[in-house]
């Protein structure tokens, strides 16, 4: 029989990690149960806060918050809570030696940065690790654009041709360049993660440095795929930059998510400084409730069931992709408590003909109040000690807004706080609260 913990977090995506951190920093005991690594492991290492609202690209993400619909998680929370969440993440990341920062306007105000991708497009994002900081590119006249033989997802010629289509980039000089495969003349395909793991080791760093040095000399900056190490180790980054003697900038890439894995690494390290336990490869299959309280969740791992009893619960189970939301013809529901999510019965109405249109399905999720408690149709909380966070929450479309990690962060922070507070109340039965 395992001990009763304060806060049980389900899911280890960004929302789960942030919720766990927030609760742990308030002194609660936290256990995280998860059956996968979440979207973080396949996404970039930047935190998009809000890139587009009201049909406009935002230079200042905060200025767009008011343009969002009332049911948007940012609106439910209010901008000041979102700011507090951002501050907490900045603090934790810095404590782990993996600092994040924002770009700044000429007046010095924080703003969105435009990050180059391996498709040669630019994406607005807000919190960046050093490796993604595009400042050096803005100053550069001549940019080396590097790919690697065997890395099929990154083609310098494509990147150059598409970057040139942006006005600010049209006049720059680009030098496309293919690094030889570190595996020699074999024809094996490589992913950015394979390469990043190689670069974790000195031999791999040598390979990268030697090859970049050949060309970087004549350039003001080097643009390369996310291969500069797979962990949140800033020393690797600094070593590479110094040895190549030219600022390096990584591009955003498609899965696997090297950048996301580094952020995950930093947050897990920070979590381990607290009363925190991680249970992996375990899937929550059932909830035990008592009126408006949840008492335990049952996990299935390697064919064995295990009950996890806690005082408060954070459900950061992700969306349609993560497994937190299940769609069937004509219906949608949350996957652990089987909460019904209202949808039109005609599936045709779930989406628009345009792939990047304004779809019902991409905003589907659990309806919550400002404290992240799930609500029924009449606005009543289903349960008192359950909090949802991240993509499992409805009301926003992270893909077109560019708000994925931002919402995960803000809602995770709030869910973690509320869970910590709720668990705290149960510690003090003298207060007269019903357990």
């Amino acid at each position: 029989m395992s001990r009763i913990i304060d806060v049980l977090v389900v899911g280890s995506g960004l929302a789960g990690l942030v919720a766990a951190l927030t609760a742990a920093r308030e002194g609660r005991s936290v256990r995280m149960v998860t059956d996968g690594m979440g979207s973080l492991a396949i996404s970039g290492g930047c935190v998009d806060l809000l890139g587009y609202a009201g049909g406009q690209r935002l230079n200042d993400p905060w200025s767009g918050m008011d343009l969002l619909p009332p049911a948007h998680p940012y609106r439910l929370l209010g901008a000041s809570r979102v700011r507090a969440a951002v501050d907490m993440l900045l603090q934790c990341a810095a404590d782990q030696g993996w600092p994040l920062h924002t770009a700044a306007t000429p007046e010095g105000a924080p703003c969105n940065a435009l990050l180059p991708t391996i498709m040669g497009t630019l994406k607005p994002s807000y919190l960046l690790p050093d490796g993604l900081d595009p400042a050096a590119l803005a100053r550069a006249r001549r940019i080396l654009v590097a790919g690697v033989h065997g890395l099929r997802d990154c083609r310098p010629a494509l990147i150059v041709s598409q970057l040139r289509r942006y006005r600010d980039w049209a006049d720059k000089d680009f030098v496309p360049f293919m690094l030889p495969s570190p595996l020699g003349a074999t024809h094996r395909s490589l992913s950015a993660l394979d390469l990043a793991r190689l670069v974790d080791r000195p031999r791999g760093r040598d390979w990268l440095i030697q090859n970049l040095r050949k060309h970087a000399g004549q350039c003001d900056a080097v643009l390369l795929p996310p291969i500069c190490g797979s962990r949140a180790d800033a020393s690797i980054w600094h070593e590479l930059n110094q040895a190549v003697a030219c600022p390096l900038v990584e591009m955003l890439s498609i899965p696997p998510g090297v950048g996301g894995l580094r952020l995950r690494d930093a947050l897990l390290r920070e979590l381990r400084r607290h009363d925190f336990e991680l249970v992996e490869n375990a899937r929550i299959i059932r909830a035990t409730t008592d009126g408006k309280r949840c008492t335990s969740l049952t996990a299935l791992a390697a064919g064995q069931e295990r009950r996890h009893t806690a005082r408060a619960f954070v459900l950061a189970t992700g969306g349609i992709l993560g497994g937190g939301i299940e769609l069937a013809p004509g219906s949608a529901r949350e996957s652990v408590f089987k909460l019904d999510i209202p949808v039109p019965s005609d599936v045709t109405l779930w989406s628009e003909p345009e792939i990047f249109g304004n779809h019902v399905f991409s905003r589907l999720g659990v309806r919550v109040d400002g404290e992240m408690r799930p609500q029924d149709d009449s606005g009543q909380a289903w349960y008192d000690n359950i909090f949802f966070a991240g993509r499992s929450v409805g009301g926003y479309d992270f893909a077109t807004e560019k708000s994925g990690h931002g919402v995960a962060l803000a809602t995770g922070w709030q869910a973690g706080r509320m869970a910590a507070a709720t668990a705290g109340k149960f510690h003090e039965p003298a207060s007269g609260e019903q357990l």
């Binding site: 391996i118 498709m119 769609l327 045709t348 345009e354």
Partner: protein
């Protein structure tokens, strides 16, 4: 101004088959197709090379044609056919009294239908419903309609024929009651082109009524829409038909690693009314259940629709309308030199082409006999060539690739060998893992003058048709093409956007289960990470 003897309108199986037939008889001909190769129904159909069993009772003549052509197409189009055989299964909902007349009709048409023990049938097809009552095996097979059209085109080219894609016929000219030429519009450059000719063959499928209209003729062709569901799983290795009078949603056809269930049948005004609906998908799932009880558990990959060219003199509609074909010589209506081919099935495309060509040749005084049933569309590649190719292509995908490429195989092989020797390449990586499509193949297809977009490449290579539905391979492909200096019509980002948009059309009506997850991933990658949506307004030109 171009000049030829015959202009064939329509680049589906029928038109390509006709072009090939005419060229093999020594008649100069040009084929015009408004879209890419097999833009119409020949790439939007069920893929069943009918044994004829489905038509045996109602239309024994059609059934006989099917079985004869079925045997011919297997022989001449080996690369396009997967010889699977088929079952006709009687479910508890079907009338047992239909079985004997059906078996008798099959015998009469020459279709070898053998009854099989139900237990044995279930052993062979374990996913089939255990409730089925009787099972017959028939020589059904599966056919790739796009490839059939392509290989006919390759064969026609070898015999001097010319195929012009993206050329829409906009006018048919006549002088003194005789056809004398056509005008076509190049849909890419917008330029128009005049071709002088003595005969026009209207093989425009569901559009053939409109083509007849261009010549001032009024004919009864009405498009009839059919929707199909593609599952990401080969849960049957045979074609499975319900043993009853043909109806909706009663056939499952396996193709490679997928299975297709269909179809529906509803009259429509527009030949290009090909967007499937959710209602149709749900209805097909209902209808498919008696044969495969777990049909709802299989992951749906996409849905698609095509339109049948039903020839409807006398207003028979839907399933009642004849599936047979009709060659109409418009001299009867006062226009000499114009022949239309209406209706029919893909299975009998060759026969249809033969009949039209007979008609045209008679008018031209050409006496050469039809040879299309004797010569293979594509000569088999020799073993030495395949051994050479094995050094550059994954062995598991080698035969598939050779079959896809047809006449282009030697060329592709030579290119990789050259690049390999020069040491300039990064090998020949697979760009699409689901369908095992390598860079060299894609590059060859992309350089083909008939290729204009990623979607054209998809049709030729099956790129992006598998599990990932293009999420990873479309980006890789466009990157490799830019790197290798192969230009396409649209910009790389627009090309990928359009490709994803086309896939989206097939995903929308079945947006649940695993398919919805795949869709959220696709949007996360292309909008969430690569900002393809935002870039549309932010990039110049």
């Amino acid at each position: 101004m171009l000049e030829t003897t015959v202009v064939v309108i329509g680049g589906g199986a029928t038109g390509m088959g006709t072009l090939r037939d005419l060229c093999m008889r020594g008649v100069p001909a040009i084929l015009l197709e408004q879209g890419g190769l097999a833009h119409g129904t020949s790439s939007r159909f069920h893929g069943l090379l009918h044994s004829g069993g489905r038509y045996a009772v109602n239309d024994n003549e059609s059934a006989r044609e099917c079985i004869e052509e079925n045997m011919i197409v297997r022989r001449i189009g080996r690369q396009c056919v997967e010889e699977t055989e088929g079952f006709f299964a009687l479910t508890p909902g079907d009338d047992p009294a239909y079985v004997e007349p059906w078996a008798e009709a099959c015998r009469k048409a020459g279709i070898d239908a053998q009854e099989l023990d139900v237990a044995e049938a279930l052993r062979l097809e374990p996913n089939l419903s255990p409730d089925i009552r009787r099972v017959f095996r028939v020589p059904d097979s599966c056919v790739d309609g796009f490839r059939l059209a392509l290989h006919n085109a390759m064969s026609a080219r070898r015999h001097g024929g010319r195929v012009m894609t993206y050329h829409e016929v906009t006018a048919i000219h006549q002088r003194n009651g005789k056809v004398c030429g056509v005008t076509a519009r190049n849909s890419i450059s917008g330029e128009s082109l005049e071709i002088a000719c003595q005969c026009v063959v209207n093989a425009a499928g569901s559009w053939s009524g409109r083509i007849a209209g261009l010549a001032g003729l009024d004919v009864a062709v009405s498009p009839d829409r059919g929707t199909l569901i593609v599952f990401n799983h080969r849960f049957t290795s045979r074609v499975i038909n319900r043993l009853h009078p043909g109806a909706d949603g009663d056939i499952f056809v396996p193709h490679g690693s997928i299975t297709i269930l269909g179809t529906t049948s509803t009259p429509t005004e527009r030949p290009d009314d090909t967007t499937p609906t959710c209602t149709e998908v749900l209805r097909l799932l209902d209808l498919g259940e008696p044969l495969f009880p777990a049909v709802r558990q299989y992951r749906i990959l996409r849905a698609f629709a095509g339109t049948r060219p039903l020839y409807t003199p006398g207003n028979a509609a839907g399933r009642k309308a004849s599936r047979n074909f009709h060659v109409v010589d418009h001299a009867e209506q006062g226009l000499e030199g114009m022949v239309s081919i209406f209706g029919g099935k893909l299975t009998t495309y060759r026969l249809m082409a033969e009949r039209v060509s007979d008609n045209v040749c008679a008018r031209l005084g050409v006496h050469a006999p039809c040879r299309t049933a004797d010569e293979a569309l594509i000569p088999d590649p020799d073993q030495a060539m395949l051994r050479r190719a094995a050094r550059y292509f994954p062995v598991q995908g080698l035969q598939l690739m050779a079959d896809r490429l047809g006449d282009d195989l030697p060329d592709v092989l030579q290119q990789v060998e050259l690049a390999g020797r020069a040491g300039e390449s990064d090998g020949n990586p697979l760009l699409c893992e689901c369908e095992m499509v390598s860079l060299a193949e894609i590059e060859r297809v992309a350089r083909d003058p008939s290729t204009h977009s990623l979607t054209d490449i998809r049709l030729r290579t099956r790129l992006g048709m598998g599990t990932c539905q293009g999420t990873f391979c479309s980006l890789r492909t466009i990157g490799a093409l830019v790197e290798h200096g192969v230009p396409l019509e649209l910009s790389p980002t627009d090309n990928v956007r359009r490709f994803l948009q086309e896939r989206w059309r097939g995903l929308r009506p079945a947006l649940w289960g695993t398919q919805a997850r795949e869709m959220e991933l696709g949007r996360a990658v292309y909008a969430g990470t690569l900002n393809l949506d935002g870039a549309a307004n932010e990039q110049d030109n």
